[in-house]
């Protein structure tokens, strides 16, 4: 079975690749077509977005998690090939997932929409692929659309990225055009995995998940050596050792294989119950014959936005902790530490890659772990320089900001934002960026009608509602990518929110002084809208230090009684009451005031039209 010659021959026929694209350029549809062409899925089991296995992914039509699948492909050269296709997310929040999947590949199919052309995340993903030395197969997708302009996209590929535009394959994943050509290009252009079956075992863990019966299931790319049942393995970072129980691949169903050898992408189980011993990015080696050094792992990730997560019921704290550990297995980008809030009790401060990531996290907590949680107002991470000028404190929770007397100045994170837009909207975008405290850096024409704009902007401004605003001011045409670009001093202060005269720490936000009055009054109005009336009047105040800068009142409940309730009304009445219970699930009593989840997110919606 483990004949070295045979394994080496097999390795020559392996191709490991990803599909990368800007969101909505047709990545998942192309993956579906490739699976179909390789007969991976019987016709009757065919459904759209096969690799998006989470309900959430299908519902939203986005890919959140990377997914790998092993395929058999008979090439025109008459030989059989083994493909490992790794699907990747397209949204900017999930760049980290993309970078992890790319590290397990030797090539990438770059998909560009024939009518949209190159977008901000096309660029970001291509640069990631080039950083990983991947061979790129360019595909111009959606050529069936009336607005498709293949030649224009070829030029953009050449002018903007420096790829050979003429080599790009025109395709329509929807109609199944060009799929064979793409796979032939993969066979021809993507190199077989390097690595040796004879060298000591080295597997890169690029993802993992938790199975109640089998423990942690790491997903690995085998770089050197062979891994099989009965092998004693070691996690190089944590030194934990386990005995392999089973090895296999995804086809896309989980399928057992007798072994995985150099070049393979698959999974193994080893009854790993200690979740913390498995790190995504770690290297698995053989305990008996360990590799000299681990593989280069992943760059440590910087969360963009933080928020506090608390159980609605304080008794669920331990369950929340367990759920976080399990979720971290399949969401390596998640970072958290315990925190305490006067208003909300014991919880965690969690770092996210963006607001979408945060939203998905909350939904997964509720759906997959049945957790009932409250999230506080999100915040970016600030650097606070104290008056002694020596101490710098990192603050990612507005409530934890030191006393103003001790603060010399506050620095906030800035990003380099890249926006690609049809030139008609440049004016709108400039106006928006200025409003969001952006500093113009550069403007480049990538074709006659499309422009790439570069701005320096505070991360806080971009994280919140910038993307929605950008989309609405450009009829949805502009695309955005950003990367952290250091810290800058800003005129920032903490704005407290007082309910019934008491500051609620979980509602505090850090604001730029020039915007404090405006934000404060908007915040009060928004909270009045979101907090249900109680039996007594509740003053809502925004304050800077001890100075109240805005105020409104939530009027007391005066009359709330159903006049009529007979036999036919009971079912409806009870349904309504129990629906309130659902709503109540996401309410937290702070003092005598019940605050719904939306109120903590009010800061995100200050610019909404009322």
């Amino acid at each position: 079975m483990l004949d070295k010659k045979a394994l080496q021959e097999r390795q020559k026929h392996i191709r490991n690749f990803s599909i990368i694209a800007h969101i909505d350029h047709g990545k998942s549809t192309l993956a579906d077509r490739i699976l179909q062409l390789c007969d991976a899925v019987p016709e009757r089991e065919m459904k759209n977005q096969l690799l998006d296995s989470m309900d959430l992914e299908r519902e939203r039509g986005i890919t959140i998690k990377l997914n790998s699948v092993e395929l058999q492909y008979k090439s025109r050269d008459g030989q059989d090939y083994i493909f490992h296709l790794i699907d990747t997310p397209g949204h900017v929040d999930f760049t980290y997932e993309v970078s992890r999947s790319l590290a397990a590949c030797d090539g990438a199919i770059l998909v560009v929409d024939a009518s949209q052309g190159i977008e901000a995340q096309t660029l970001a993903n291509v640069y990631l692929a080039l950083d990983n030395d991947l061979e790129i197969v360019s595909v111009i997708n959606k050529i069936d659309l009336p607005s498709a302009d293949v030649e224009k996209v070829r030029h953009e590929l050449e002018d903007t990225i420096g790829l050979d535009g003429q080599a790009a394959i025109p395709a329509s994943a929807k109609l199944g055009i060009g799929i064979v050509e793409i796979l032939e290009a993969v066979v021809k252009n993507v190199p077989a995995p390097s690595g040796s079956v004879e060298a000591p075992l080295q597997c890169l863990i690029f993802d993992s998940y938790y199975d109640t019966y089998r423990g942690v299931v790491p997903l690995v790319r085998v770089v050197n050596g062979v891994i099989k049942k009965g092998d004693r393995i070691r996690m190089m970072a944590t030194m934990a050792e386990y005995e392999v129980m089973e090895t296999g691949v995804f086809t896309p169903k989980e399928e057992s294989r007798p072994f995985l050898s150099a070049g393979d992408v698959g999974w193994f189980t080893a009854q790993i119950k200690m979740i913390e011993t498995v790190h995504v990015g770690d290297t698995v080696t053989a305990a008996a014959n360990p590799a000299a050094a681990p593989l280069p792992g992943y760059r440590k990730l910087t969360p963009m936005v933080y928020c506090g997560i608390y159980p609605v019921d304080a008794d669920d704290y331990q369950d929340l902790k367990d759920a976080l550990e399990k979720l971290k297995l399949s969401d390596a980008s998640l970072q958290y530490e315990p925190e305490t809030s006067q208003a909300l009790g014991f919880g965690f401060r969690i770092g996210f890659l963006g607001l979408l990531h945060m939203e998905i996290f909350q939904e997964r907590m509720e759906r997959e772990f049945d957790m009932n949680i409250i999230a506080t107002a999100p915040s970016v991470g600030y650097r606070v320089v104290l008056t002694d000028m020596k101490t710098v404190v990192e603050v990612d929770n507005p409530a934890a900001l030191p006393d103003p007397g001790r603060i010399h100045h506050i620095e906030e994170p800035y990003v380099k934002a890249t926006i690609i837009t049809p030139s008609d909207y440049v004016g709108n975008i400039m106006e928006l960026c200025q409003y969001k405290r952006g500093a113009f850096k550069d403007m480049q024409y990538i074709s006659a009608s499309r422009v790439e704009l570069t701005y320096d902007m505070p991360l806080a401004e971009i994280i919140f509602d910038f993307f929605d605003k950008l989309k609405s001011s450009t009829k949805g045409y502009a695309s955005l990518d950003y990367e952290l670009a250091g810290y800058k001093e800003s005129k920032l202060s903490k704005m407290d929110i007082l309910l019934n005269g008491e500051p609620v720490d979980a509602l505090a936000i850090i604001v730029h002084s020039d915007f404090a009055y405006d934000r404060g009054s908007r915040m009060c109005v928004k909270l009045k809208e979101l907090i249900p009336r109680q039996l007594f009047e509740i003053p809502v105040q925004a304050a800077l230090g001890s100075k109240v800068i805005a105020r409104t009142n939530i009027k007391a409940m005066r009359k709330d009684v159903l006049a009529k309730c007979y036999g036919g009304d009971i079912s409806r009445k009870m349904k309504l009451l129990n629906k309130q219970k659902e709503g109540k699930k996401r309410m937290k009593a702070v003092g005598s005031v019940e605050i719904p989840q939306e109120a903590f997110m009010a800061v995100l919606r200050l610019d909404d039209e009322n």
């Binding site: 039996l535 079912s571 009870m574």
Partner: protein
């Protein structure tokens, strides 16, 4: 044990602007078909109706049925239940439909209580509700009943209507009391979705009284009627002692009842179900099964018994709940103790009931039961 029978007559001459009850404007032959379906359903349910103590024929507008159709309904009821043993037998009527023949017909079949849809004594407000009768029709109808020595009458009123003033409500209260009914219902207008008023509100053509005015109107009703001898025994229901509606108390005491006719709701054998909600579906269901559809609704009887019990002035009967559910209300729903300190409920050994303060924010107190 089914103690009450409700028969639904879903026909109306015109549709009132506030009404969300299942109803339809149908042809004479469609009405006759419906009456036959009712008779079929009653006859199929006969064995379940042995212990029935109250019958209520509601709508819609039962009084608009042709005398022959109405008599067919009454005969069908008599065939299914022992009318002689009933403790209360009510029919709803429109003031404009009442004449001597109507009173004679219903009395001949054992009906001893009539609920009149008066709604208001002000022509402006009646017009706004889409009601076709007048104040004079109401006076005439009540006089007709009294001439025939038929005194057990309920009058239904609605207040907090668009443009209505507290003074107008006080006039209505006086008007109602002067007619000397045994029972009065004064409802705050509920803007039910998909009603005509609801659409007008949605389109911004309707200005409803603000919450403060609505509260003052409700408080006016609560103050005036007891002064005139009508004791409040439920949120919106008032009666001379002994004339509380036994049938409606079945709902508030969470007892079992069977609903017959289109969309009628039932609670029996620990289950809750309703009939097919449209005319065609109801008739089809009766044709194929003899029953009206019996679509199951989710139910939590204890929770319902508490929410309904709280509507009564006497409150939730702790002993009754204990006997039926082997649980104590206060222990099961401890938030009631918080409501007690908030001054919203009064708790003693026998009952949990709303205080005056609690009554007006009852929906808030109900949250204690979820």
């Amino acid at each position: 044990m089914i103690q009450g029978l409700y028969v639904h007559i879903p026909f109306c001459r015109s549709i009132c602007t506030y009404c969300d009850f299942p109803k339809t404007v149908a042809s004479a032959s469609a009405r006759a078909d419906y009456v036959r379906a009712i008779a079929t359903e009653l006859s199929a349910s006969r064995s379940d109706l042995a212990d029935v103590e109250t019958v209520y024929i509601g709508g819609g507008t039962p009084s608009m049925l042709a005398p022959d159709d109405l008599e067919a309904v009454l005969l069908a009821v008599e065939a299914a239940v022992d009318v002689g043993r009933l403790k209360e037998y009510t029919i709803e009527a429109n003031p404009g439909d009442v004449d001597r023949d109507f009173v004679r017909l219903i009395r001949a079949h054992g009906i001893d209580r009539v609920s009149l849809g008066v709604q208001s004594g002000h022509s402006r407000l009646l017009a706004l509700m889409g009601r076709t009768h007048t104040k004079a029709d109401v006076e005439r109808a009540v006089a007709t009943f009294h001439e025939q020595r038929f005194y057990n009458l309920n009058l239904d009123f609605i207040h907090s209507l668009p443009t209505e003033t507290v003074a107008e409500l006080e006039e209505d209260l006086d008007f109602a009391c002067r007619l000397q009914p045994t029972h009065l219902s004064f409802y705050t207008l509920i803007l039910e979705p998909k009603t005509i008023l609801w659409y007008e509100k949605k389109e911004g053509r309707l200005v409803l009284p603000d919450e403060e005015t609505e509260a003052r109107m409700f408080e006016t009703v609560l103050r005036v009627l007891p002064e005139r001898g009508y004791r409040r025994y439920e949120v919106s229901n008032f009666a001379i002692g002994g004339f509380e509606s036994r049938h409606n108390l079945l709902y508030w005491n969470a007892r079992e009842y069977l609903g017959v006719g289109m969309a009628a709701h039932s609670q029996a054998s620990g289950r809750r179900f309703h009939n097919a909600p449209t005319y065609a579906k109801y008739l089809a269901a009766v044709r194929s099964t003899g029953f009206g559809g019996r679509i199951e609704d989710p139910c939590d009887l204890l929770q319902e018994a508490c929410v309904m019990g709280l509507r009564k002035a006497s409150g939730i009967d702790r002993g009754d709940i204990w006997r039926r559910f082997q649980t104590d209300v206060v222990r099961r729903y401890p938030r009631l103790l918080q409501n007690e300190t908030e001054g919203l409920v009064a708790i003693d050994d026998r009952s949990v009931r709303l205080t005056d303060r609690g009554l007006i924010v009852m929906n808030y107190v109900e949250r204690s039961f979820v």
